[in-house]
């Protein structure tokens, strides 16, 4: 187990390093980051000033090493638009994204698990087909469009919820509905498939032939094994919800990380964008690593391998 743990952590560390170098080098995609920051209206002198101010005149490896070293100490640079430390701006915006992401994740799980299990009990039954319909439509509807349509119906026509912003908790209802609907299909389909697999296993037949009732068999025997493959997918989905809320945040005018990233891109505030990409990637790496460790803890076969 210790070897598995160490090896997994080493991989996570390497991936984190690779991800950090990618978000660092994003600044160089435009050719010269100084010109990107100075803007199209900036003169050559402006660009030169920016170059010296931000240290773009140093060798690229020195810049990267410096950036990483500072990032490790929690310093992600300075936003040129706000003239504030990037970490402070991100810290102010992160709660909205966290609430939105975790609430949507919780709702998605609460619907997906029971629905997936029930659908698996009677494949091709009525409930299974309803579940399939939900999954198929959830995969086809663009989330930003669904958000706008819901705003029109519930915000404008029925006037039930505020149409933008998150001054009160009710501003979170529609965004959470849209985001959880987006995460639902993958979780539910996997739960269903995994449950169908498990229900055909010998130990389930044994439990049934001992005379145990179906609810007991499902809850005590089948479910435990059926959720195993779900752990890693759930971690991935949570990561996607946290980073994928960018479109939803802009539709509902929520001041989270995604909206900050989008606005910063439009005003070429590169340091903020780099910081957000780094943070979101690291969160994803942490979540998937955690999921692997949980899986190894739940299922001894994985850590032996």
């Amino acid at each position: 187990m210790l070897r598995f743990l160490l090896r997994r952590l080493l991989v996570a560390l390497l991936v984190a390093l690779a991800v950090s170098s990618i978000s660092f080098s994003l600044a160089y995609l435009s050719g010269d980051p100084a010109i990107a920051i100075a803007g199209s209206g900036g003169s050559a002198q402006d660009a030169e000033l920016v170059r010296q101010l931000y240290g773009f005149d140093r060798p690229i490896f020195v810049q990267y090493a410096d950036w990483i070293f500072q990032a490790l100490q929690g310093n992600l640079g300075t936003s040129y638009y706000f003239s504030m430390p990037v970490s402070q701006i991100i810290g102010e915006r992160i709660p909205v994204t966290l609430i939105l992401g975790t609430a949507s994740f919780a709702v998605a799980l609460l619907v997906a698990l029971p629905l997936g299990i029930l659908a698996a009990l009677k494949p091709n039954g009525l409930l299974d087909r309803i579940a399939l319909l939900i999954a198929v439509s959830g995969q086809a509807v663009p989330s930003f469009w669904l958000g706008l349509i819901l705003i029109v119906i519930f915000g404008v026509w029925l006037n039930l919820v505020p149409i933008s912003g998150a001054d009160s908790w009710s501003g979170f209802i529609l965004p959470v509905v849209v985001l959880s609907y987006y995460a639902l299909p993958a979780l539910m389909r996997l739960m269903r498939a995994s449950m169908i697999d498990v229900l055909q296993a010998n130990y389930v037949r044994t439990a049934r032939s001992k005379g145990l009732g179906m609810p007991t068999v499902i809850l005590r025997h089948a479910l435990r094994n059926a959720v195993l493959p779900l752990v890693s997918v759930a971690a991935v989905q949570l990561g996607i919800l946290l980073s994928g809320s960018i479109v939803i945040e802009s539709v509902f005018a929520l001041n989270g990380l995604g909206r900050l990233a989008w606005e910063s891109l439009l005003r070429s505030d590169l340091a903020v964008v780099q910081g957000i990409i780094l943070i979101l990637s690291l969160v994803y790496v942490m979540l998937t690593t955690l999921a692997d460790l949980i899986n190894a803890w739940l299922d001894p076969r994985i850590r032996e391998a």
Partner: protein, 302 residues
């Protein structure tokens, strides 16, 4: 799917999703999903190809005298514009028709780029194994860790939005599923007799990968390509919606939704129509892909 990136575990789950015993009518249902999905897809492709013949207006032609003309099901419509006009007086039907070109064109070209990158990497990883495999698996994990929408937005914003940039950036970001599937597929067959036989006859590594292994992966890769295309279409619409994808005045459905957003209170149909088209297209591609998956899945088992 449209989870913007599907994890490794979900891919393995896809293959186990096919239940072993199925009643006869289910099989017919699968064929129906191929027929319906494929039918809609074919129709949309034809519409996209014949766009100049079908639309009576230039999709970018502005006519400020005829702004906000209403679609045919509302009162007071202009018969010259069947689906009304937008805030610049452009014919909405023509824009919707040309929008199909953008969605399908970008979807198809991105998938082509991604399939080329992903399949090559997957083949190399599975065939050579060892250190090559470690390196490529590491690349896949790194790619999966990146927030794809954000990186795509940043790359397009910094490189300047053009169709070529958009296709390149998205292609460089969505190859992961092809790599995962090609790698595991290659791993599963690389020790088979016929591979060793080919090796013994002196075939080169490249020849074995392309002539012996690749044909075996064909059906799986086609399924992945279909499902990824649905993904890419949604991704493009989201980027265009955020103003960092297809540039105006090119008619992209995502962009049309963004443009209709300002008049959402009074003219909700302006966003309902392009969104409906997106749903229909993605649904069709997904149905087609799901049907193909089940069909090829069962064929493999037999």
């Amino acid at each position: 799917m449209t989870t913007l990136n599907t994890p490794i575990a979900a891919i393995t789950a896809i293959s186990t999703e096919a239940a072993p015993r199925r009643p006869h009518w289910i099989k017919r249902c699968r064929q129906n999903s191929i027929l319906i999905g494929g039918g809609i897809l074919l129709l949309m492709t034809l519409v996209a190809l014949c766009a100049p013949l079908l639309s009576s207006y230039d999709p970018t032609l502005q006519n400020l005298d005829a702004r906000y003309s209403l679609p045919f099901w509302m009162e007071g419509t202009d018969p010259a514009h069947l689906l009304g006009t937008d805030h610049l007086g452009r014919d909405y039907l023509s824009r919707l028709i040309y929008g199909a070109r953008i969605s399908l064109g970008i979807g198809f070209s991105v998938v082509l780029v991604a399939a080329l990158i992903g399949t090559s990497l997957g083949l190399l990883a599975g065939y050579f194994g060892g250190k090559v495999d470690m390196l490529i698996s590491f690349l896949i994990t790194t790619r999966l860790s990146l927030p794809i929408v954000l990186v795509a937005l940043a790359a397009v914003a910094l490189r300047g939005a053009s169709l070529t940039t958009l296709v390149t950036v998205l292609g460089l970001l969505v190859w992961d599923q092809f790599a995962i599937v090609a790698r595991s597929g290659t791993l599963a067959i690389r020790h088979q007799e016929y591979i060793r036989a080919a090796r013994a006859t002196g075939a080169s590594h490249l020849r074995i990968m392309l002539r012996e292994i690749l044909p075996n992966l064909r059906s799986t890769l086609i399924v992945i390509a279909t499902l990824e295309m649905a993904n890419v279409i949604l991704l493009e619409s989201a980027l265009s919606f955020l103003g960092l994808g297809v540039r105006p005045p090119t008619p992209s459905w995502g962009l049309m939704i963004a443009e209709g957003r300002d008049s959402i209170l009074f003219d909700a149909w302006l966003i309902a129509l392009p969104g409906g088209m997106l749903c229909l297209l993605v649904l069709a591609v997904n149905l087609f892909g799901d049907g193909l998956r089940d069909l090829t899945g069962t064929e493999v088992k037999r």
